[in-house]
C-alpha cells in the first residue's frame, strides 16, 4: 500500500469534463461540508469556484483560526550544499549549470547556526542539493546533530531516502521532513527530470510515507506550481496529504505551494498560476485539510504574503538566504536555488504578522531528548 496506488486511480480521470460540470451550488455545498470529500476538493479547485473566492476565504480563515488560533509559525532555511546530481530543467542547482558548488563544513555550519540563532529563529529547515555522493548521510547526520544544539526544531529537505536513513536523521534530532514531488503529473515529471536519481518518480512519491514510517513528527509536501497544470497538481497534493493524514495519525501533515520564480537557467514555466488562482488553490487546500500546516516561502512578494496571513496559511519563512550559507557572512550569492522575493528581515516579517493581529511564533515546541 502506498500513495502510488491512490494516485494511479486518477490516471484516466477527465479533469476538464469534471470542471465543466461544476455548478455554483456544487461549490457552496462543497465549501460548507464539515469534511469535504476528494471530489468536493476538486470542485473547490475548479475554475467555476473562482467566483467564490471571498466566501472560501472567510471559511478558510474561520477554520484556520479554529484549529491554529491567530498564530503564524516562523522558520528559516539553511542551505549547506548546492551539489546536485540531478538535472531538473527548472532548478538553479541543476548539475549542468556552471555555478560555484559549495558545501559547508561543520565549522561553517556552526557559524551559520550562531548567526541565525541571533535573529531569534528557533525552527530551522536544513537543505541541500540532492547529491548522495557529496552530502552523504554521515555528513547530514552530523549537521543535524550540530544544529539541534542551536535550534528547538530542525527539519530536513534533501534527497529522498530509505526508511533507515530517515531514522538516522530522526535519531540525530531532525523532527520534520519536507519533500516536494515537484510535479505529480508523471509525463511532465519525466520530461523535466532528465538525469540522476530524481528520475525515479515513484521513489520520490513514496518518500514522505517512508519518512512517516521513520517517525518524523511533521511531513511537508507539495507541487512546484508552474510545472504541471496547477489545479490538478494541487488536487494530487491534497490527495497525498489526506492519504498521509489518514494513514499516519501521529504525523502532522503540511503543504506548501512554491510558485516557480526565475532561477538560474532559462526555464520558462509551461503553466502559470496568477495571484487569484494561487489564492484559490491555497483556500481549497485549507478547506479540504483544515488542520494541515500551510507554508508560504519567500518566493512570494512581501505584500502578497501579508495578505495571505489571514487566508489560512500557518507558516512563513523569513529572512531567508537560498544560496549556500549566507547568514554568518553575506557571500553575495549569485546562484541561489530560487530568487527570494520577500527580502524582509525576521524582525520585519514578525512585525507584519503582528500588524495583522496574529502572533508570530518562533518556537512552537521543543523536542526533549
Amino acid at each position: 500500500m502506498s500513495f502510488t496506488t491512490t494516485i494511479e486511480k486518477y490516471t484516466d480521470f477527465e479533469f476538464e469534463k469534471f470542471f465543466d460540470r461544476v455548478r455554483p451550488d456544487d461549490v457552496t455545498a462543497a465549501m460548507e461540508k464539515e469534511k469535504p470529500g476528494v471530489l468536493d476538493f476538486l470542485t473547490m479547485l475548479s475554475p467555476r469556484a473562482a467566483e467564490f473566492l471571498e466566501p472560501m476565504a472567510r471559511r478558510a480563515q474561520q477554520l484556520t483560526v479554529q484549529h491554529f488560533g491567530r498564530t503564524i509559525h516562523l522558520f528559516i532555511p539553511l542551505y549547506i550544499s548546492n551539489y546536485c546530481s540531478n538535472q531538473c530543467v527548472y532548478c538553479g542547482f541543476n548539475c549542468t549549470h556552471a555555478i560555484t558548488r559549495r558545501k559547508l563544513d561543520l565549522k561553517e555550519i556552526e557559524a551559520e547556526a550562531r548567526a541565525i540563532a541571533a535573529t531569534g529563529m528557533q525552527h530551522l529547515l536544513l537543505l541541500t542539493g540532492e547529491s548522495v555522493e557529496m552530502t552523504p548521510i554521515d555528513y547530514l547526520e552530523a549537521a543535524v546533530s550540530l544544529l539541534k544544539s542551536y535550534f528547538a526544531s530542525v527539519g530536513v529537505e534533501m534527497f529522498p531516502m530509505q526508511v533507515d536513513a530517515y531514522q538516522r536523521l530522526r535519531a540525530a534530532g531532525a523532527d520534520s521532513l519536507t519533500l516536494y514531488q515537484e510535479v505529480y503529473d508523471r509525463q511532465i515529471y519525466r520530461r523535466l527530470h532528465l538525469a540522476g536519481r530524481k528520475t525515479d518518480y515513484r521513489f520520490r512519491l513514496d518518500a514522505p510515507e517512508r519518512g512517516a514510517w521513520a517517525g518524523f513528527r511533521a511531513i511537508n509536501i507539495g507541487p512546484l506550481i508552474g510545472l504541471g497544470e496547477p489545479r490538478r497538481e494541487v488536487f494530487f497534493a491534497g490527495l497525498h496529504a489526506r492519504y498521509l493524514d489518514d494513514h499516519f495519525l501521529d504525523t502532522e501533515v503540511g503543504l506548501s505551494l512554491p510558485r516557480l520564480n526565475p532561477a538560474e537557467g532559462d526555464f520558462r514555466p509551461e503553466y502559470r498560476a496568477d495571484d487569484r488562482t494561487f489564492v484559490q488553490l491555497l483556500l481549497a487546500l485549507r478547506l479540504f485539510m483544515p488542520r494541515a500546516a500551510l507554508t508560504v516561502s519567500t518566493r512570494e512578494r512581501a505584500d502578497f504574503r501579508n495578505h495571505l496571513i489571514r487566508l489560512g496559511i500557518t507558516r512563513l519563512s523569513a529572512g531567508s538566504c537560498t544560496g549556500v550559507g549566507g547568514y554568518a557572512r553575506p557571500v553575495g550569492e549569485k546562484t541561489p536555488q530560487f530568487v527570494v522575493s520577500d527580502t524582509r528581515s525576521v524582525q520585519q516579517v514578525a512585525e507584519a504578522i503582528a500588524a495583522q493581529g496574529y502572533q508570530p511564533v518562533y518556537k512552537d515546541w521543543d523536542l526533549i531528548a
Binding site: L53, E54, R58, A302, D303, F304, R344, Q348
Partner: protein, 264 residues
C-alpha cells in the same frame, strides 16, 4: 472583569439574570436567593389582599436595591393589563411593568396582539414596558416602535423547564432588535440560560427553575454563573466576528487592486 452593564429604560443593571418571586415555598428564600444570585430585577404580581390572614409583605424580602418588575398576570385583555399596570405604579415601586396577557390557559401562550395594544398605551404613560411575547420579529418591531423598553420572548411555555425551544426565532430577534432581548419563561436549567446568553440574549428571566429547586439560593447562584459564562462566551465570539467585519475590504479584495511594490 470589565463592566458590561445592561440598560433598560433609564436604569442600568450589572446582573443579566432577572428573577421572579413566584412558587417559593417560603418568602425568606427570596431574600437569600437574591443575595446569592446577584439578581437586580425581580418580578412580582398584584393581587387583592387576603383580609383574613395576616400574610407577610413580600416587599419586606426584597432589598431596596433590587428593581421591582410588576407583571400584569391575570390580565386577559390589553385594558386589564393597563389597569393592573396603573395600579402597580400607584404602589410606589417604580415605572417598570412586564406586560403579560394570557388568554390561553392550556399552554399559557401570551397573546401578542393584546400585548402590543397594552404596550402602545403604557409606553405613552411613561411606563418602562417589558412585553412578554412569543418570539415574532415583525411584532417585536412594532413593540419597539410603540416604545417598548425591551422584548421578552419565551423560550418555552411558562414553567415547562423545556429550554430554548424557540431558539431559531429568538435568534432573529437578537439579530434585529434595537432594544434588549430578554429570554423569559421555559429556561429550566442553567445550561439553558447559558445557551440563551451565548446566542446573544441581553438577559434572561428565570423564576420556576430557581424557586422550585431544592435549594433555591444555590440554584440562583448557578443560574447567575451560567448567565455570566454565556454572556462572556457571546462577547468573546462577538469580538472575533467583529474582527472579520472590520475587514470592510474583503479578505480577497487585494487581488482586485494593482500589485503594490513590496515595502522598502
Amino acid at each position: 472583569m470589565h463592566r458590561d452593564p445592561l440598560t433598560i429604560g433609564t436604569q442600568t443593571f450589572t446582573s443579566r439574570l432577572f428573577t421572579g418571586t413566584g412558587k417559593f415555598s417560603a418568602k425568606a428564600q427570596i431574600a437569600e436567593m437574591l443575595a446569592r444570585s446577584g439578581s437586580e430585577m425581580i418580578t412580582v404580581a398584584l393581587r387583592r389582599i387576603d383580609m383574613g390572614a395576616g400574610t407577610e409583605n413580600i416587599l419586606n424580602f426584597i432589598p431596596k436595591t433590587v428593581t421591582l418588575l410588576p407583571n400584569t398576570s391575570g390580565a386577559r385583555t390589553a385594558q386589564e393589563a393597563v389597569r393592573i399596570a396603573r395600579i402597580a405604579r400607584e404602589a410606589g415601586c417604580g415605572r417598570f411593568i412586564k406586560i403579560e396577557v394570557i388568554t390561553d390557559s392550556k399552554y399559557l401562550m401570551p397573546d401578542n396582539w393584546e400585548t402590543l395594544k397594552a404596550t402602545e398605551i403604557l409606553a405613552k404613560e411613561d411606563f418602562v414596558v417589558l412585553p412578554y411575547v412569543l418570539p415574532d420579529l415583525p411584532l417585536a418591531r412594532r413593540l419597539e416602535a410603540a416604545g417598548a423598553a425591551a422584548v421578552m420572548p419565551l423560550g418555552a411555555p411558562i414553567g415547562s423547564n423545556r429550554g430554548l425551544e424557540t431558539r431559531a426565532l429568538i435568534a432573529l430577534l437578537i439579530e434585529n432588535c434595537r432594544v434588549p432581548v430578554v429570554v423569559d419563561a421555559g429556561l429550566g436549567r442553567p445550561s439553558h440560560a447559558a445557551a440563551a446568553m451565548e446566542m446573544g440574549a441581553d438577559a434572561v428571566l428565570v423564576n420556576t427553575a430557581i424557586a422550585t429547586a431544592q435549594d433555591p439560593a444555590a440554584m440562583g447562584h448557578a443560574f447567575a454563573l451560567a448567565v455570566s459564562a454565556g454572556r462572556m462566551a457571546f462577547k468573546a465570539k462577538l469580538s472575533e466576528e467583529s474582527a472579520t467585519a472590520r475587514a470592510s475590504s474583503p479578505l480577497t479584495g487585494f487581488l482586485d487592486s494593482p500589485p503594490q511594490k513590496s515595502p522598502q
